[in-house]
Amino acid sequence: MSTTDDRVAGPAPGATTSRATAEAAAALTGAPPTARGRRPRPGQVALAVALPLLAIALWQVAVWVFAPREWILPSPGDVARAGWDARDRLWFHMQWTILIAVIGLTLAIAIGSALAYLIARSRIAWLAAYPWIIVSQVIPLVALAPLLVLWFPPFVAILVLAVLMSIFPVVVAGVDGLRRTDRDLIRAARGLGAGDAWTWHHVRVPAALPRLFTGMRLAAVFVVSGAVVGELVASERGLGALTRLTAGQFETAITFAAVVLLGLIGLGLFGLIALAERIALPWTRRATRRGA
């Protein structure tokens, strides 16, 4: 059944991080679902942790060997030290970015799901809206940033950009999920006398949720990019603005620290969506029974 393709193995205490990593990789690269179903072995977990650590070590060694000026390439140690010293400043900007990303993601999910429902349900909406939603994604949205700043106050402009950059995967995944319902499930409901509306709300919508969540996880990643682009162009607050300000003043170590924090925000939002999926759709992780 196509609706059960997105199943994920049950929870593994202590393996949450590596599983999330594997899921992230699968969602972003489109890896075959079978690769996500298995619990990673300890060796694989060690490898997943070791590679980034190795990269950081190489970075540190390269800085020792080639000794570049600190404002061109600070060492990981410099970044950690500068980040700790500037923690109040980083936190001030980080709050702003988190606020925009959370509001933007919420709006993208709400508006995107509603649009997906309309487009999948109504032929008129399908013809009128769907082509334009796809065309809108061909435009590099970054190019819209100066225009948005011209039209809206900075906070609204940044929010609009964040929503524009993250709504597309929600709409596409939602439409796809709603239109590709297992024929047998629909036939079963209709064959017992279910009408069109009942079939939509009790069969098509629940069957579409796993795909919709995949779109939402992608949106969680894109919304941070949208917020940062907006802040780069239009704001004096937020980690995006901080990277612009600090890079301009050769405080490169703080720029690096801001980039690391941006990555953490993206990971956090991604994890939140994955957690919501586990709670909302226990059947996709092969839970034996309700409440288990």
Binding site: M1, T3, T4, R7, D182, D184, L185, R187, A188, A189, R190, G191, L192, G193, A194, W198, H202, V203, P206, A207, L209, L281, P282, W283, R286, A287, T288, R289, R290, G291
Partner: protein
């Protein structure tokens, strides 16, 4: 080319009729027409009242528990949720699914899922059941167990049954009457009453009829 052509039969109330024919001959389309899910270009299909169609496989909703899946049949008749759940629990006990009401379908065996699908069909409260190759995906042992379940349900619920299958011995074991269908466009080429002779005589008669119809090519 039409899918159905010259399909003409009357099923008696309370009787179980099998329609047997080669794969892809249009049997599922016939059930869809009877259930009102497809319309015929010409001719009449009068199921004589509301019907419940059970598609191939179990087609249980993977996001509903076993109890919710079964209760769905009753919910669609307009029964309020608590009443539907109560009737589902009765069916769960009657079909030997006790203790699995809160399980999701993927956690159950094929035979258990098939029982649940039958229970869902039963709770829809329709006098006529259209069963589309209901046991095709099951192994031989589970299938013969399901034959017993269906025989018991016939005795208690007394539905009119139209069973589409391509298994001749299944048709002979479960039904009062076997209609033999030709390859596309589907026509009814023979009408064989079960119980006249030995089961193997019935099977032989059906096989001969299928051979004549060119269905064993």
């Amino acid at each position: 080319m039409p899918v159905l052509d010259g399909v003409d039969f009357v099923a008696r109330a309370g009787e179980a009729t099998a329609i047997i024919g080669p794969s892809g001959c249009g049997k599922s389309t016939l059930l869809d027409v009877l259930a009102g899910l497809a319309t015929a270009d010409s001719g009449q299909a009068d199921p004589g009242g509301p019907v419940a169609l059970m598609p191939q496989g179990d087609a249980l909703m993977p996001w509903l528990t076993l109890r919710e899946n079964i209760a769905m049949g009753a919910r669609l008749t307009g029964a309020p949720a608590p009443e539907a759940a109560g009737r589902a629990d009765t069916a769960i006990a009657a079909l030997g699914l006790g203790g699995f009401g809160d399980h999701y379908p993927h956690a159950l065996s094929g035979g258990m899922r098939q029982r649940a699908a039958l229970a869902r069909t039963m709770l829809a409260g329709r006098p006529t059941w259209l069963l589309d190759e209901p046991f095709g995906a099951l192994d031989a042992l589970t299938r013969s167990g399901m034959h017993d379940v269906l025989r018991d349900l016939r005795a208690t619920e007394r539905p009119t049954i139209l069973l589409v299958t391509h298994d001749v011995s299944e048709a002979a074991a479960l039904c009062d009457r076997i209609l033999v269908a030709s390859p596309r466009p589907m026509r009814i080429v023979d009408d064989i009453r079960v119980g006249g002779g030995t089961p193997s005589a019935t099977v032989d008669a059906v096989m001969a009829s299928l051979r004549t119809a060119g269905a064993l090519a």
